[in-house]
């Protein structure tokens, strides 16, 4: 264990200073220090996607990212997606398509889908499948998840 140092994290546009061991996972610091528990632990080794956040716009598995690497970069989490009462199109689509049963994987799924749609506004079925494949849903609502990503593209397209 290294000595705790002060690290600056920018989460959903807000700067935070955390005094912590720089080798701790971003996931743990988000959840335990910043108390933002919307991002979930699923496997701790980047195999399931439950912990996905965006770092400088890129889908990042926060369980396998240490805070040192995330310092000073733009971190986006599920808590930062909605604008007031207005859901982000991807959140709206997941709600409309009822793309979850237990919902534990949903935050990671949504962040993954946001990352996809920000680089490709109209992904095809195959692109959705390949991009979302790193995310596990044990309730296996996969067809509704794929449908939600498609729907989000439509909603987003309509808004743009």
């Amino acid at each position: 264990m290294a000595d705790p140092i002060v690290t600056k994290l920018i989460v959903n546009g807000e700067p935070h200073e955390v005094t912590t061991d720089p080798d701790r996972s971003l996931l743990e610091v988000l959840r335990e220090d910043l108390r933002m528990t919307g991002t979930k632990y699923g496997c701790g080794e980047g195999a399931c996607g439950a912990c996905a956040v965006l770092v400088d716009g890129k889908r990042t598995f926060s369980c396998s990212t240490i805070v040192r690497e995330a310092a000073g970069r733009q971190i986006r989490t599920i808590e930062g997606l909605a604008t007031g009462d207005a859901l982000h199109p991807v959140q709206q689509a997941f709600l409309e398509e009822q793309s979850f049963q237990c919902g534990y994987c949903t935050a990671g799924m949504i962040m993954g889908a946001v990352a996809l749609l920000e680089r490709n506004k109209q992904p095809g079925e195959e692109q959705i499948r390949d991009w979302m494949n790193p995310h596990i849903c044990r309730c296996c609502t996969y067809p509704m998840i794929a449908a939600a990503v498609k729907r989000a593209a439509e909603i987003g397209g309509a808004k743009a």
Binding site: D33, C48, L95, C105, I110, N133, R138, Y142, P143
Partner: protein, 737 residues
Amino acid sequence: MSTINTNCRRIDCPEDPDQIIEIVGHDFGLSRRTFVTALGAGILIAVVAKTALGQEQDQPVQGEQRRRVPGGGRRQSPPVPVEARVHLGKDGSITVLAGKVEGGQGARAQLSQAAAEELRVPIERVAMVLADTELAPDDGITAGSRTTPSTVPAVRAACMMARNMLAQHAAAQWKIDAAAVDVRDGAALEKSGDRKLSYADFASSDPQSLKQVAPNDLAVTGVEQWQVLGQSAARPNGRDIVTGKHTYPSDLIRPGMLYGKILRPPSFGAKLSAIDLAPARAIDGVVAVHDGNFVGVAAPSTFLAKGAIKAITESAKWEPTAGHPPSDKLFAHLRENARGGVPRNPRAEHANSAAKTLKATYNVPYVQHAPMEPRAAVAEWQDGKLTVWTATQNPFGVRRELAGAFRIQESNVRVIVPDFGGGFGGKHTGECAVEAARLARAAQKPVALRWTRAEEFTWAYFRPAAVMDVEATLSADGALTSWHFVNINAGRPGIQTPYKVPEPSTPAVDSAPPLRHGSYRALAATANNFARESFMDELAAAAGKDPLDFRLAHLENDRLRAALEAAANAFGWADRKPKQDRANVGFGLACAVEKGSYVAAVAEVEVDRAKNAFHVRRLTQAFECGKITTPRNCRSQVLGSILQALGPTLREQTTFERGRVTNASFYQYEVPRLADVPRIDIHLLDRPDLPPAGAGETPLICIAPAIANAIFDACGQRLRDLPLKLGPLDSAAQSDT
């Protein structure tokens, strides 16, 4: 029953005897040491704990009612006073309580619908409190597809009584006949007048009538009058799911809370002989506990807790236990250890006179539930009273488990189950809650314990492995004349054959399972139906019959016939391409009845000879569960079941050797992903004339046999072990058939 080398014991599940619940035999009672001295160590501890619990049960805690079904049998939700189910607030709030949990199966929406239907209020008016042992009635374990047939009627009955009482109260106030009062949109209305009295007005009159007990067999609103039930309702807290606001058990934070970590033995059953906790205690803020075989720490962060465990790991001296069979010897081990031997076929003499005799053995390995949210609990002690927030399907059972482990009264334990991240039959027990509570007692602070994925893959219980021997005879005209089906280790669910055959023999025997096992969605019905429906295909082939015709010729149950025919028709079974026109493509079907619902599946598989692999191209499933109460969720459950069942059919299996799991990771234990999804067609058969049955389990059980049968059709290989692995194929485009 109990496992080799592990400190577990099976406990009864009074509300559903088919459920397999093995709890970890922790004994953290403060007075334990005297008991151990008096009775000796080891296994007796468990016996003592059981006796202690039993005694406590004989002396009901004041104000608590023991509700048990004498002699077993599936229990209904208990009749309780209306006010135990329905709280009417003077402010107009309506709170409905149930002891069931929400783990993604849809109970929250369904029970809210049931309440709204009978109370005659919009569903948004109902606040549903689930699974808080201090507040909600004991509706038993959430398992066995019992919410729909058992708790939905109980909630409906209580809500209907509350509605009637509102009408009667209004009638008395207005001095008119109750029949002249209607209840609509949350208020009693005078049919020929404009007087109105709301639930809030009723609540303000401090009604005593709500103390009446609501029997479960009341004539509730008929299907033809349903306004809310029978419609699709979104999950009431769905918005909190997509915004990340919902607090799962692993998200809960209490004031001053510490984070726990357990030192796990290096192998199953290893006994701790020595450990030095000093290096852990030297870390600022760390509390370390050593109690028997239990070693754990609590620290201000998970990172520090991990560090503390690391600091003491090397000092731990473990005595491993020997004789643990490896997974590649599993099936031989289960057979050799079958209790009382493998039952013989009582009608073996039939083979002499039969036209044909077939015998085969099918094997199903251990698999894990692997819910996305691993076990998690927050425990907090205050004045000798324990509160635990945890993910379990069995809140009242976990309360008993905690009371037993700490030797305290159940009335001093409160278990609260926030909506959690998946169970699938895998969260019937409370080991994580017990561990968290042990740490919290030492720390004198709330402690959160969240298992890692590797812990979940290793220390959670497994679906029982199964060895199944099947033997049957056919007459010259292709009729089944005898049936002998043995399940070793996995149990009875789904073992009875729905097919017409004289005196079928279907024994199930226990074995000496090397891993801790327990319930899994659909229980042993998945294994038993895989074997039976595969074997029916073998028999059809031996009789020279079409697999569909052969089944229908032996099926008398109209509902099962209807499901099978619906699936076959939707797939286009009768018009399927003749074999010579579809090289390497095969079709297979299967059907089953389980837990009051009926299912049939048809699979299309393509074999790739160059890669020596197969690919599932299409699955068609028909499902009937009586009247459908929640159409969209029913479809979602059927779809999720089909895809979840693909996992153990194609890839999933726990491997182990020398008492260690060797694939405790999502990288090595490969569950279904989006890329695995084939074309799926689901046909829900609604039967408004029949009572609703659950829909979260039965849709799993035909997937494996339908696919195995399609593989046989595609390439002639009969695969009898799950997961299905092709043997070497002739790489020619098409071979013998």
